[in-house]
């Protein structure tokens, strides 16, 4: 009986693992778990990552760039700011030089990124959904991209 139960548990475990393996990857917009932010639409998100001011509760929402993952960066450029990498860099440079708009902070270390996110509840960033699910310090606001 105990053997049958063990086999059943193993089978359920395998099924769950297989489901997890075939699950489509997603990139999600995240904020600190304590953040009052609930959602940001795609236009606001583009404004934030181009350095324009977007406010919630009278506070400026900051966008943090996650540059630690190459694929994540490519998805960000295509799905969020909808520009090529050079064009995005030129645009940021132009805005900085013309209007004094600061560039979004960049983090290539996940720990530092999460720390920065925790320190400011009005800051957002993007990461793989599974990474966001593993961290209790962040909450997903919306799906930015989903693998077909």
């Amino acid at each position: 009986m105990s053997t049958a139960r063990a086999l059943l548990i193993c089978c359920l475990g395998c099924i769950l693992c297989a489901q997890a393996a075939v699950a489509k990857r997603q990139v999600v917009l995240v904020a600190s778990a304590t953040s009052p932010l609930h959602d940001l639409d795609s236009l606001e998100l583009r404004k934030i990552y181009l350095g324009f001011t977007v406010k919630r509760d009278g506070k400026t929402v900051k966008g943090l760039r996650n540059t630690g993952d190459k694929d994540l960066n490519r998805i960000f450029l295509q799905a969020v700011v909808a520009m090529s990498e050079k064009s995005y860099s030129r645009r940021l440079l132009s805005l900085t030089l013309r209007q004094g708009i600061p560039r979004p902070s960049e983090y290539n270390n996940a720990g530092q990124l999460l720390e920065a996110l925790s320190s400011d509840p009005y800051s957002v960033t993007y990461m793989w959904k599974d990474a966001a699910d593993r961290s209790a310090d962040v909450k997903a606001l919306r799906v930015l991209w989903q693998q077909d």
Partner: protein, 510 residues
Amino acid sequence: MAARLNTLAAHAILIGLAIHTVLLPILFYSLLYIVKQSHEELFVNDVRKYSRFIADVFEMDGAVSNEMQSVRLLDSAVLGSDGVYAELIEGDRWLRSGLLADYPADHYKEDFAFGQHGDRIYFLSIPLDIPGRQLLLRMGFDEQVTIEQVKTARQRLTVVLFLYLLISIIALVLMSTRMTRPLRALQHASRNIAMGQHHDHLQVDSQITEIRELATDLESMRAELVGVNASLLEEIAEREMMDNRRKVLEGKLRQVQKLETVGVLAGGIAHEFNNILVPIFLYTEQAMHDLPAESPVHAQLERVLKSSNRAKSLVQQILTFSHQSGNPEHEPVDVKPIVEEALELLRALIPSTVELHQELAADDCMVLADRNQIHQLVMNLCGNAYQALDETGGSITVVLNRCAVDEQFCGEHPQLRVGGYLRLSIHDTGHGIDRSSLHRIFEPFYTTRAVGKGTGLGLSVVHGIAVSHSGDITVESEPGQGTTFHVYLPEIQPHRQAVPGHDQEPLDTP
């Protein structure tokens, strides 16, 4: 061929070609990479922005609530760009643009870079931010257009670089030719100098400092070389002249020494002969005195005495030649009257076919001399001249003038000293003397006449007289042109200095 390849111009061209061969492919591929990257980056940027714009339209206009509007919007998205695919997905449902028959939705693989997956379509999907719905906008754009643009750019780049290479080669050839032209000019001028054309100037028209300075240096060297060469030629000519003069002097010295040797020998013999003649004279005259005049022996003794007198005369001439003719009385005498007197005597002797001219200088042509010997000198020389004209006729010219003897003339005539001299010149228009005889005419007993027609002592005696008066005699003769004898006698004029140019003629060095 190898010689042509080893020229500076060929080397410059080859170096230029080598550099281009290395650099042009690098330049080509670098430019091509930049062009390709630029086109691809532009394409990716455009399609992302365009897709985002379409997504914004869907999100803002609420078109998704109406299928017809959604399809129209998808059609518009395809038409407004190089789109080949536009689709709206929600769960299992989908809406597609129907403009493209060959729909590539089945091969959908999302791209994040140009050319990814090799399907020549750039696919991308954008989740639509519409509350309560999970819509996904998928779009595909044709990469072939950009690929063709890159190909065109590649072809243009190839043509441009080929033209650049062609122009570079032409420029290299022209520049290397232009740069080496002054060097070739320098080379040509240097060769001319090496071949002896030292007076060709090294003039190079070049803007290149090094070549200009090289030409200047070579020109300086050429000028110096010309100077050195000229001075060397001058020195060589001077040495040749000195050498010739030395040879002439050596010849004359040998002649003088020979005449002196002959004179000493002949003088010695003449003395001994004179001693022999003395008893002959004494006893012949004693015998004639002892014999009656009508005696046949008396007549024979007279012949002996006559012959003895001739022998005495001969001995006297030999002694005169050898400067041993007793004690000639040297006293200041005017030469002109002596010459005139001798010529008067000569006029009576010479035939009418021979003309006698005289150009005698002013009076007071004083020399320290023996009057009789000067007379004999004139008679001997004129006699010789007359004999040279005996058969053909002609003229004899006697000139007496003053002259100044300088150092150069003294060098050629060791008996003379610098100062004023009387020059007695006797010129005849006779047959002249050949060159081989000219060197021997003052030797005693040397004669060109037939045997019995002269003793060969006349000119020897003249030479002896001239030398014994501290003078000299020279002869100039050309066969068929006549002969001129110049006798130099030192002039004595205590009140006049022997300064050339007074009424003295400068000497012509033979």
